[in-house]
């Protein structure tokens, strides 16, 4: 029963990882951008939520109403002001600029909030659970997993049934022709990054409720999100959810064997999948 429990908890943890990954998957799908600062932006969202909760006395879940649009705006401005200048054939500029951004965010958070670990207090909901058979399911992990499913379904729907989604797909297929057809590429990219960071804000707040975080916590989150994207297959949002779940289960099973193996087990499953299915389990587009 312990093992079943570990698998179930891993699946729920996978929901959080899918939220880490969804933003990465989105911007890669639309503009082939890999944002090295993604993990630090997740942590930045958690700190913003911390400030909102302490300043306004809101619960972290209510703080989402401010942090999600706030991060969306930051994403749009970041893309228009800086990242759009790096877009092109050469891979190096976006990579190095987002790497510089990552160092800046980490150290700015260090200055603003010190290195002390923080966490978001969500109250009784944090420890509430429901019994299913002999397994106790936390209410918070269930909410996170359900949110991940809803977010991915919404993104999927947006991509295939809205004008914005059509603009994203058109720009993804051929930037120049999309521009000729009257789409403003710079604006479309801005919207994609805005949407990516709005999802990131959700991930950041859920991360902050689940565990403590500090300014250096971002890189591990970037890596988990990245692993979920690659395991699931590039450009496939449902694949990203599956990737997150596989990673989550690998980690909880690893931790079950030996607490020191938790993260390592996730990495090893990632490398094994890379070795046998280099394009991920459900690939849609080429890297």
């Amino acid at each position: 029963m312990d093992w079943v429990n570990a698998v179930v908890q891993g699946v729920l943890l996978g929901g959080l990882y899918a939220l880490f990954a969804a933003g990465l998957s989105l911007i890669f799908g639309v503009m082939r951008l890999v944002n090295i600062a993604h993990g630090d932006l997740i942590v930045l969202s958690a700190y913003l939520a911390l400030t909102v909760t302490t300043a306004l006395g809101l619960s972290p879940l209510m703080a989402l109403m401010i942090v999600v649009p706030g991060m969306g705006l930051i994403g749009y401005l970041l893309q228009r002001a800086i990242l759009n200048r790096t877009m092109g054939e050469d891979l190096l500029p976006p990579l190095l600029v987002t790497f510089g951004l990552s160092v800046i965010i980490q150290n700015a958070l260090l200055m603003g909030y010190t290195a002390d670990p923080q966490n978001l207090q969500a109250g009784d909901i944090e420890i509430a659970s429901v019994e299913v058979g002999s397994i106790a399911l936390g209410v918070m992990p269930l909410i996170v997993f359900a949110t991940a499913v809803v977010v991915i379904a919404a993104l999927q729907w947006m991509f295939y049934h809205t004008a914005l989604g059509r603009a994203f797909r058109a720009t993804s297929d051929n930037q120049d022709i999309a521009q000729l057809m009257g789409l403003n590429r710079a604006h479309v990219f801005g919207l994609a990054m805005g949407l990516s960071l709005a999802v990131t804000a959700l991930a950041g707040v859920f991360l902050g409720i689940r565990t403590s975080f500090d300014p250096a916590a971002g890189s591990a989150r970037l890596i988990f999100g990245f692993e979920a994207v690659i395991i699931g297959g590039l450009g496939n949002l449902w694949g990203t959810l599956a990737g997150g779940v596989i990673l989550g289960v690998a980690q909880t099973l690893g931790a079950k064997i030996n607490p020191g193996y938790q993260i390592l087990a996730g990495h090893i499953v990632f490398l094994v999948i890379l070795a046998i299915r280099p394009r991920g389990l459900f690939p849609r587009i080429d890297g």
Binding site: V34, I82, L96, V103, I104, A220, L222, F226, H267
Partner: protein, 338 residues
């Protein structure tokens, strides 16, 4: 027309290469004229210069943008500690042995992560470094997660007395810097190096000329892995203490190195050398600012990437058409011929 020929040498490059001899002699003699703290700082500069040159070979020439070179720095440190303390091997034998082991380990790593492209390759290298870190944190004979110190008997065995040891650490660091920069220059002048430069300039065109791109990049990755491992040995020989977090630090061994190369000028031999000197000049004057200094460094790197993507040296080279290391070919005698 007969006077027209293609050469790599310029008057400047020849002058600098001749100047290099007295400079090297002066540097070798450093233990007799430099203070203890200066010697240590110079050793650190030499090791960072080596790391920057190696990263530049990967990212600037082979297009392999790695953010996981800390994997090999840490591996070097741990291999050196393990070979000397656990296996009882002489430190001077352990150094080349560790470099060889680093290259041998880099080969299967390359096979695996070469499946990822571009930016995903970058993060893949980072995952590899994390795997190394978490693995060494499990090795209890090397102190597990909290790390271990190099035992005093090994340090004493390397040279007699403190000043002799410090001189030896400097000579090793200088030797590695000369070895790394020298072999990168020679490599780039070789047949493989020309292939690599062709890949850098245009991968499709290079492939159509019959260059085996995978193999060329593989060789670069493995050689870089081995040499980075060697640099890692010396870094932790200087520090005398190792822990997983320090050994596999992405900030210390990759972020700083990337900033050095970007500021100095990526894709040139001179860039990392100049970048290292600028980096240490900034660090020595601004390190008191702590985190503000790191924020400034990140900002400078972003601005350079956006405004002058070829860095300081790229700027000077374009403006004055100069090159210190004789790498690119030029036609001379054109005026006489015409």
């Amino acid at each position: 027309m007969s006077q027209m020929h293609v050469t790599r040498r310029t008057r400047l490059s020849t002058a600098v290469l001749i100047l290099l001899v007295p400079i090297l002699i002066l540097l070798i003699a450093a233990p007799w004229w430099a203070g203890r703290a200066d010697l240590r700082l110079m050793g650190e500069i030499a090791l960072y210069m080596s790391l920057a040159t190696l990263w530049n070979l990967l990212a600037g020439y082979a297009g392999l943008v790695s953010v996981g070179q800390q994997a090999y720095v840490g591996l070097g440190g741990y291999l050196f500690f393990a070979l000397t303390m656990l296996a009882g091997i002489d430190p001077y034998v352990a150094l080349p042995l560790a470099a060889l082991a680093g290259a041998v380990i880099a080969a299967p790593v390359a096979v695996l992560i070469f499946r990822l492209r571009g930016a995903y390759f970058a993060i893949g290298t980072w995952v590899m470094a994390e795997v190394f870190r978490l693995t060494f944190a499990q090795v209890s004979s090397l102190g597990g997660g909290s790390g271990t110190s190099l035992s005093a008997s090994i340090v004493r065995g390397m040279a007699d007395g403190r000043s002799a040891r410090e001189a030896m650490a400097w000579w090793l660091a200088l030797g590695v810097a000369v070895l790394v920069i020298g072999s990168v220059v020679l490599f780039l002048r070789s047949r493989q190096g020309v292939a690599l430069t062709a890949i850098r300039d245009n991968e499709v065109a290079a492939r159509s000329l019959g260059i085996d791109i995978w193999r060329t990049k593989f060789i670069v990755y493995v050689v870089t892995g081995g040499l980075t491992t060697l640099v890692g040995c010396l870094i932790f020989l200087q520090k005398l203490r190792i822990s997983p977090d320090a050994a596999f630090s992405v900030n210390d061994w990759t972020a700083f190195v990337i900033f050095i190369v970007v500021i100095g000028g990526i894709g040139t031999i001179e860039g990392p050398i100049i970048g290292t000197l600028v980096f240490f000049a900034l660090r020595e004057t601004m390190a008191d600012l702590g985190t503000l200094y790191l924020i400034a460094l990140g900002l400078v790197a972003i601005v350079i990437m956006l405004k002058a993507p070829r860095g300081l040296w790229g700027f000077f080279r374009d403006r004055y058409n100069i090159e210190i290391f004789p790498l690119s070919r030029r036609v001379t005698g054109l005026n006489k011929g015409a």
